[in-house]
């Protein structure tokens, strides 16, 4: 990996990291759901800073170009993030359904009482 690419990636990742932290600080994002984002960014920063580590892992996995390793890691983390989102949505949909029913039944009980 060339020094230039390393520098560009690093700047980019730090910008994203700062952006994320700002959003959490402003309470636009829930920390609970951003943990996987932080994990992704920090892992990518480590790999960018120590390309040797990258080469070792890439070698171990049989990936010939180390830069592909970065993409591969990014992709895997993205999948994890998407999965957590899907799980969160499923849970929310369930909760919303249950609440909707509860509200409807409460409202009915109130009306019948009048």
């Amino acid at each position: 990996m060339s020094l230039r690419l390393q520098a560009i990636l690093l700047i980019l990742l730090i910008c994203i990291l700062i952006g994320l932290i700002t959003q959490v600080k402003r309470k636009k994002l829930d920390l609970k759901y951003t943990l996987s984002w932080f994990a992704l960014i920090i892992a990518l920063i480590i790999l960018t800073c120590f390309p040797k580590l990258l080469i070792i892992i890439a070698d171990f996995l049989g990936i010939t170009t180390p830069i592909n390793m970065i993409f591969f890691c990014g992709f895997c983390f993205s999948l994890v993030i998407i999965y957590t989102l899907t799980a969160a949505i499923s849970k929310m949909a369930d909760n919303i359904r249950s609440l909707t029913q509860k509200i409807a039944l409460l409202e009915k009980g109130e009306k019948d009482h009048e």
Partner: protein, 231 residues
């Protein structure tokens, strides 16, 4: 014995009055509850004008969520028996009395009104019958029980099954999947022949493009359901 008819209604303004009239005339001893699934037409106004027993969902939940609201109501209000009837006039309320008698006679936990035992009345389109036959075979394979009409919406359940459904009920296209859930809970499911009419208004929740989604979703749901463990 307290018996409840649950009528999920989404944009059924054309038929809802007739459905209730039908229940009042032909199903004495049954209370009813209309679950208005956030209809965009006059369903709510018509029900309120007539003073029908009505629950209004503030958000559209789809058929599964609407029917489940009825089961929760049945559970909270101590009903012994609950039966689902569609708001579009497909189901004939005069079968309800017969169904509740058959349920006691056969000591069933769930009683399904089947169109395909005596093959009378509206038999659905050819393609749908193919789909239904497929579900019958799949359920037979997985549970060992033959259900001739697993997609029938006309189903009567007792309090033990009301409890199950009030807690957990599929979101969309719930019929075949929930039959499997009941069977897996080691409950008795029986069927009796009924005659259904063609829908008298409104439109089916299953269009042509959706039918592929329907087949895939329900198949997967049945498979997953049969993997679940119950005590």
């Amino acid at each position: 014995m307290k018996k409840l008819v649950i009528i999920p209604a989404y944009n059924e303004s054309e038929c809802i009055e007739q459905t209730i009239k039908d229940i009042r005339e032909h199903a004495q001893g049954f209370d009813y509850l209309i679950v208005n699934d956030c209809s965009t037409d006059q369903t709510r106004e018509i029900c309120e004008k007539n003073g029908f027993n009505l629950v209004n969902l503030p958000i559209n939940l789809g058929i599964g969520g609407a029917v489940q609201t009825g089961y929760r109501y049945a559970w909270e209000n101590g009903y012994d028996v609950a039966v689902q009837i569609d708001g579009d006039g497909q189901h004939d309320a005069s079968f309800l009395q017969e169904m509740s008698e058959a349920m006691i006679r056969e000591s069933a936990d769930m009683l399904i009104g089947s169109r395909f035992i005596e093959k009378e009345g509206f038999q659905s389109s050819f393609l749908r019958r193919v789909g239904i036959t497929y579900f019958t075979a799949l359920i037979k394979l997985l549970t060992g029980t033959t259900i001739t009409d697993p997609t029938s919406g006309l189903r009567m359940i007792n309090r033990s099954v009301i409890k199950i459904f009030a807690k957990d009920y599929p979101k969309d296209y719930p019929e075949p999947e929930s039959v499997v859930a009941v069977l897996r809970n080691k409950k008795q499911v029986k069927e009796i022949p009924v005659i259904m009419r063609e829908r008298q208004g409104g439109s089916s929740s299953i269009g042509s493009i959706r039918s592929v989604y329907y087949m895939v979703k329900v198949t997967l749901a049945i498979l997953v359901e049969s993997l679940r463990r119950y005590k």
